[in-house]
Symmetry: C2
Subunit: 397 residues, 2 copies
Amino acid sequence: MVNVAVLGYGVVGSGAVELLTGTGEGQTKKADDLVELKYILDIRDFSESPFASCFVKDFSVIENDPEIDIVVEAIGGAGVALEFTERALKAGKSVVTSNKEVVAKHGSRLLQMAKENNAIYLFEASVGGGIPVLRPLSECMAANEILEICGILNGTTNYIFSRMIDAGLSFEDALKEAQEKGFAEQDPTADVEGFDACRKICILASIAFGFHVLPEQVKTTGISNVTLEDVAYAEATAHKIKLLGRAIHNQDGTICAYVEPHFVKNENPLSSVEGVFNAVTIKGTATGDVMFYGQGAGKLPTASAVVADVIAIARQMERSAYRLWSEPRLEGTVSVDTLSNVWYVRLLEDTLDNAEKIETANENFAENAYFTLPMTRPEVDAQLEGKKVLSIIRVLD
Amino acid sequence: MVNVAVLGYGVVGSGAVELLTGTGEGQTKKADDLVELKYILDIRDFSESPFASCFVKDFSVIENDPEIDIVVEAIGGAGVALEFTERALKAGKSVVTSNKEVVAKHGSRLLQMAKENNAIYLFEASVGGGIPVLRPLSECMAANEILEICGILNGTTNYIFSRMIDAGLSFEDALKEAQEKGFAEQDPTADVEGFDACRKICILASIAFGFHVLPEQVKTTGISNVTLEDVAYAEATAHKIKLLGRAIHNQDGTICAYVEPHFVKNENPLSSVEGVFNAVTIKGTATGDVMFYGQGAGKLPTASAVVADVIAIARQMERSAYRLWSEPRLEGTVSVDTLSNVWYVRLLEDTLDNAEKIETANENFAENAYFTLPMTRPEVDAQLEGKKVLSIIRVLD
């Protein structure tokens, strides 16, 4: 059994507690049987919480408990978060965090401190929230030299651009809407001025290129100067405007890392990353471009990455990287004929009732095409019995 | 030092040898210093090869050499590839492969055999080529229950659809073109009939859901019946046609896995996966949808995933999952002002020479917008000196 202490019971900390204990919405079991929650550190009162017995207010209780193997730092900022991280590592406890500020500023020192104390320091959640990116970059692309990293690393600014493009809102109105919807902080400086993206590209570049790239080495330009006119010119030339964090490996071995708004061609997969989603493209010498896409923030996505790091440390001594598959179970699968969805149907001459007819510009009057109501394949086959069917294709929900 | 034997010197095997030895194009060093190539097994004559001294024709040399820790199986098919995998595992050697046929049919048994012999069996390259997906699914999403996997798992069929959509080629003509370009085999059955995608969704489902899903449990429909008329109707309704492999986790615990052409809405990120690229979307209870995108086949991408598995086994005893970052190096980065690219420039009243003017439908005659020639930021600033600049935005190459 591996015992865990969670520092800070805010958004990320409470999400991690839910996943560790199997009490999250829609969750049917603990994230991992190996891992046990022992403490939650928070200075506030949570005596009504179902986890009341876990709460402590004094970090030294955790620091001095030899049963604690892993500390989840979910306090945020670079004050006590940094102090408790250092004390935990010096006590030989592994530390997992989503704290990009601490990692971007102090990562190399903390990784070294972990090594000296035979502990592990992991921070998958610090970049891209729940999107797996640091571990794939570090492990799955280990046979590559990394040529470039380019990413949409901040959901708030991406949401603002999406709303400027789709709804014609000005920067100020889009920011206001983002704040109302909870996608932007009341003080949006760290997002809008690119500081958040800057910390993330620092962490990505450091893992990719092997030396710690500090925030002050990354020229950072935010999005507040981008206007609706710029958005219109981008659209007229088949581009989208995106705030990108980039780190380029030059042939002479130097790195060029920066954060800045860019015109991105519509055929670049990054251009179709909309709203609060994030995506990171990594170019390796052997793989070419690979892209990782998903929700870059939020309670459970971020907590998912934190808890995955916890589980990775707990499983460290196991040998297989994949969960063992049990024997095949023929009764474990059901036929795709049980799956109900809309169908695209094309008929020669015949027509179909209770279905949406598809009108096209160049209509061939001998044919009719439809989207059906949601139904299974046997059901649509029954409706089509006796008709001259040219095509049936499933429509993805 | 960890010694490796590569079985089969075809496309994937020779790619793995290049990466392991640091002799690939554009490669400046060995993939990992821990790992040493000792043998290459191939029945053909490679006495002129720079690796001639590594070649052996008899597998028992490898099987009986206690110095060999890891065997890369790059033979293909389910004949001797399976036999040598079993013999290697029984000899306590870890095995890495890209062989989706063997894994989809025999994965649970081989994982069990590896465990019993204190060895590891890994196969990241068997799904998605160089795209990291099995390890992120298994490790980074370990705190999630997986609800659905949905992917474009075969580049050949995706290329055929892309050419039908973009160039209006018929299925037969698009297939012929794919064969001429080397994107399709002379016997394209495994790709076109969906068998290749079927094997991959079996492997993904088995890792996600914890029991071995066999190919015969996955109803598989290929793409040969999809016509240009279907493509036109898809376009008219803001869809693209894609061959998807899907595995859905039903609420009663059963799995529904199948391969079939689908209409996919244009706003679904899978719809913009074009040509020979692959992508896999995984929906987790905590992360929501995450997507992995990249080249799903090819010599070096596939070899990259194979060698990453080799390195992962070799590093197993090391404790940190991330490469240690060395100290910051202020001289290690260069300013973004050294970076040359096209710029989008918008001017009030003024005009710009040697630049491409952007025409928009609703032109404001007081303004002019341009794409410049490629240049650095200081260069574009010099050109704009004295002009009334409204916007300058970098254009991503």
